[in-house]
Symmetry: D3
Subunit: 138 residues, 6 copies
Amino acid sequence: MAKRIFVTRREVFSSAHRLYNPAFTDDENELVYDKCNNYHGHGHNYVLEVVVEGEIDERTGYVIDLKVLKKIIIENVIRKVDHKHLNLDVDFMKDVIPTAENIAVKIWEQLVDKIPNGRLYKIRLSETENNYVEYFGE
Amino acid sequence: MAKRIFVTRREVFSSAHRLYNPAFTDDENELVYDKCNNYHGHGHNYVLEVVVEGEIDERTGYVIDLKVLKKIIIENVIRKVDHKHLNLDVDFMKDVIPTAENIAVKIWEQLVDKIPNGRLYKIRLSETENNYVEYFGE
Amino acid sequence: MAKRIFVTRREVFSSAHRLYNPAFTDDENELVYDKCNNYHGHGHNYVLEVVVEGEIDERTGYVIDLKVLKKIIIENVIRKVDHKHLNLDVDFMKDVIPTAENIAVKIWEQLVDKIPNGRLYKIRLSETENNYVEYFGE
Amino acid sequence: MAKRIFVTRREVFSSAHRLYNPAFTDDENELVYDKCNNYHGHGHNYVLEVVVEGEIDERTGYVIDLKVLKKIIIENVIRKVDHKHLNLDVDFMKDVIPTAENIAVKIWEQLVDKIPNGRLYKIRLSETENNYVEYFGE
Amino acid sequence: MAKRIFVTRREVFSSAHRLYNPAFTDDENELVYDKCNNYHGHGHNYVLEVVVEGEIDERTGYVIDLKVLKKIIIENVIRKVDHKHLNLDVDFMKDVIPTAENIAVKIWEQLVDKIPNGRLYKIRLSETENNYVEYFGE
Amino acid sequence: MAKRIFVTRREVFSSAHRLYNPAFTDDENELVYDKCNNYHGHGHNYVLEVVVEGEIDERTGYVIDLKVLKKIIIENVIRKVDHKHLNLDVDFMKDVIPTAENIAVKIWEQLVDKIPNGRLYKIRLSETENNYVEYFGE
């Protein structure tokens, strides 16, 4: 019987963002987002981990070739967000408040239909060495 | 529909401890705990990860503001254990053998009722770069 | 009631390997494995995490003494794979394509019956800082 | 005789920046800075290490109390750059192209006269896990 | 001509300590050492790097076999400090305030005459992920 | 006056090697290199840091564009050693015992004449998380 396994590819991207809800007043934005609400933005080296679950193909020993997964992540996520401003430059982040939570959900949506073998299981996104979020698509 | 996500805050604390069960003889303590039973104690930089699960608030993009979670962790855990001796200085560790397992359970108990949004999902506690434990409250 | 917890021991080993399926032609091997198919092999510092799940023994505060778990891992895995060629030197990897996926499954099989307290829950194996796999025994 | 030693304090800050020289044409900026020239900026978690050299005070065992050094770094650097846009929000970066090289030099200038014990020896600034610079004040 | 090179071996040890100068009053100790002065001590996972400088032996390709250097460090330092209280259990720390600075100097003294090939160049000692010291024997 | 600064680019490569001196008997090789002498080799994820020293160009804020330095390292080192066997596949390692010391010297020789701005200052090569060497070209 084929073995079920989870494989992960890690990629890093460097982006600017500003936490800001246009439906809030300036004072509310300040209150909710504090220093993350800085008008000109700030930035992070985001660490993205994409976890794919599937059965090991007995002929190759792979669920999915991680070089293939890497290309899918770069094409669909990294080249769109790396060295960009998440509020202003990224089509799939349009009209979304770029918290780590929302970025993870949006990256999930970018990738979920693009995985040729196995299925997308988890997006893990670290914003700093002390903060990270995990999203399972639900 | 609101998205369910897991958010994590990492904090570090530096404590002394001694593994020792007063119900054991000295020889039993030596046998069970070996070098961790050193009479004057030893210590670690513990790495604590507190994972909270919840739905993303669409107005803020947060489950819980991690700055709020940080304050809760510092108030209820870090200021009580950091630069302390876990056997001798910490109220919530009284009468507990301070293995990583027991520390994680006790940190869970300190935090489980204090999370204002979402619910506490996991405590992950690293004692060294080679040893860590995870507790889910059951 | 006893608390259920997950404890992890991390060990590192340095091995050579070559991704190659003898049932494939040379061209197929090249196509599937690309640079991982290099005739003379290449190598990694593999990072192995062995996760054991169980109830905390109230007398010791342990599920399993991590010094004991360490010895079991070294005896059954590390001394067989560290500073070895995974295709050529390791009995339990015989006739297996040494992808990270397959190595994790084989390490699981080496360890699953050797854990004296608790039960083996997960094998996590990192091949590089960007690639890792997780196997839960199913 | 007093012992000479080097002590280091590490702090992290998250900032946006854009590499851009107003004396260049747009094409030159694009050519020189490539993706770092993105109009709306991008960002990093910068890792700053401040190294102070001095003699160990025999009464305290310190060159400089690292809690004191931490406060000096936070007051003079971190609170000015963390969660800011380096081109637009930071007084001491005015009219400077915010390459890691120039940021390190400017941080040196912020700190060199503020160290009460010992002398500033080195600024080390990591922009990503793959890029860092070191400046010794010359 | 033989090439000059620097080789480093890293080891970790877990110890308790208390910063306290018996020549100070309690208030002075509190003022100088703050939370590091906790009566029952606290602790760290210290990361020790021992750097040896020398010429590459053309027959072996080594300055000094790092397995040999490892044994020297373990014999002379690690087995004396690991899982110990630095103020109370360690002969070579007797009558020394166990700041990272002083520990590094004392480790230098333990090792400087024990290196069979090359010469001891530097001791680097990390107390936490944010604090480290470097000592060159002067 | 132009500021002197040190800039570093980090790259990783995964290679197999065997420590073996053909001028030694088998017993001597076993004695000197122990498990590193395994007949079929073993391997590592080597972490290479290339440090370039130079003056900051006031027009660009760079000593050398790290994207340029990255390309030089990949062209002259990484594509030759990554996913290769250092004893058998690498032209510039021919007739060299592939200790970390010798690999660092040979990487220096590959790069020293290829740096268009600034000058090569140091090669730092980590073989494992516990072992690394540094070479300054002398």
